[in-house]
């Protein structure tokens, strides 16, 4: 019985991680504007990675390897927001039409136009 409960928890966590990554990939693929794409990528980087590590932790039981995996998650939770912050800063300082987006609140538009030259 306990094994089955553990299996279902692990499966649910892995499916959640898969959903996170799927939404991240979809968002990076489909969103037109840099900030939205960054947000989409951040979901996969933080919650998806954490779900995978937690599933492994539950599946394998407490051991040093799982502790190392959790340390990796800690590391990624530090690095990913910092890189996102810098990307956003570059966009904030370099984009001429950022206030337009902020005012109109629209996510489509010609943001993809600047993909090539930024």
């Amino acid at each position: 019985m306990g094994e089955w409960i553990r299996f279902f928890i692990v499966a649910a966590l892995l499916l959640l991680a898969l959903a996170c990554f799927a939404s991240a990939v979809l968002g990076v693929w489909r969103f037109g504007y840099v900030m939205n794409r960054m947000h989409a990528a951040g979901i996969g980087d933080s919650l998806g990675i954490f779900c995978v590590a937690a599933a492994l932790f539950i599946a394998g039981g407490p051991s040093w390897e799982e502790a190392k995996a959790l340390l990796l998650v800690f590391f990624l939770w530090f690095t990913s927001p910092v890189s996102t912050h810098f990307l956003g800063q570059v966009e904030f300082f370099n984009s001429p039409d950022l206030p337009v987006y902020a005012a109109a609140g629209k996510e489509e538009g010609d943001g993809s136009r600047r993909n090539g030259n930024c």
Binding site: F75, T79, H85, Q89, F93
Partner: protein, 337 residues
């Protein structure tokens, strides 16, 4: 006189102290040469006809270039495939070429004292190759210094110090609180990981090159978080240069000693130690440390040269320039917009 001699030995040059000291003549000369070239091109256009002819020539050259590139690439691919067809099949053992590998794998631990067979190979059996690689890195660093180091004649606008000296704003994320907090937490673990890889080369995966690159990346992140002013206090020019030269010299002398005493069946006086301990493997650990220090200094030197045009600090001659630095950081974010 003595100071001059030391400066000559040090290789340091006179750096710019002030914005009024800046020599603008290279720019003016460059602009003049550019206008001359433009005028000459215009007159050539007039003489030879329209620009369309030149365009057609360029188009033909591009067509020829792409065709020659494709044909030579196909030729090269054919040669490579022909050679590959003589190799043994994937996963199949070739008795002629695996003799050396088997000797290394079976007797490596006993002969070199290193559990990691790769470390035993690259730092004991074939340490001469690694010495050459270290010198290649050193030579690359010297070439980049020759090309990119800034002094009175090579002061381009691309360097950050140009903007600092002239007082213009240049966007640098140095004083970023988020990056500093992240660096405060992450840097110890990164540097510790690099040292762990460096010291553990004979027992597990790792060694000089990997540990050195991780250490260099840690220094680069340190620079990104806290700025060059902080890093210069730790990794000054004199320190980087001394570490590189001392490490390369130690490698050369130690390996020369081993080649002359141990490699010909003579007795080597360096103990092997018990395999598995940190102090084991004879000379592998010191050589690992030497290679790692060279690699780390090279990586950081590349970054520093590419970003601001000088390696390490500028020495004591130019330390009193806080005013320009403050102006540069205060006006950050304006320029790059």
């Amino acid at each position: 006189m003595k100071e001059k001699f030391w400066r000559w030995l040090d290789g340091s040059r006179e750096y710019l102290e002030d914005a009024s000291d800046m020599d603008e003549t290279p720019y003016r000369e460059r602009e003049e040469v550019k206008t001359q070239i433009r005028e000459r091109n215009d007159s050539l256009d007039k003489r030879r006809g329209t620009r369309a002819v030149i365009r057609a020539e360029e188009k033909g050259f591009r067509l020829l270039y792409s065709w020659v590139a494709v044909i030579s690439a196909i030729f090269l691919i054919g040669v490579l495939l022909y050679v590959v067809s003589y190799l043994p099949r994937y996963g199949q053992e070739n008795p002629q070429t695996t003799l050396v590998a088997r000797r290394y794998l079976e007797d490596g631990v006993r002969e070199t004292g290193a559990i990691n067979a790769v470390a035993g190979m690259i730092l004991d059996y074939r340490a001469f190759d690694t010495l050459g690689e270290s010198h290649v890195l050193f030579t690359a660093l010297v070439c980049v210094m020759i090309l990119l180091e800034k002094d009175r004649k090579n002061m381009r606008r691309g360097y950050e110090d140009y903007y600092r000296i002239t007082g213009e704003g240049f966007y640098t994320p140095n004083r970023d609180g988020i990056m500093q907090a992240a660096g405060f937490v992450l840097l110890p673990s990164i540097l510790l990981f690099g040292i762990y890889i460096l010291l553990n080369g004979q027992n597990g995966p790792g060694g000089g090159f990997s540990g050195g690159t991780v250490l260099g990346s840690g220094l680069i992140i340190f620079t990104m978080a806290f700025g060059f002013d902080t890093v210069d206090r730790i990794a000054s020019r004199r320190l980087l240069k001394g570490v590189t030269v001392v490490a390369l010299g130690f490698y050369s002398f130690a390996k020369g000693y081993v080649f002359f005493t141990g490699a010909n069946g003579l007795e080597s006086h360096i103990p092997k130690g018990t395999p598995g301990a940190i102090l084991s493997g004879g000379l592998i650990l010191p050589l690992d440390i030497a290679v790692g220090l060279v690699v780390a200094c090279t990586m950081f030197g590349f970054y520093s040269l590419f970003r601001r045009g000088s390696i390490g600090g500028k020495g004591k001659a130019c330390s009193g320039k806080k005013a320009g630095t403050g102006a540069g950081t205060k006006a950050e974010g304006k320029d790059n917009a």
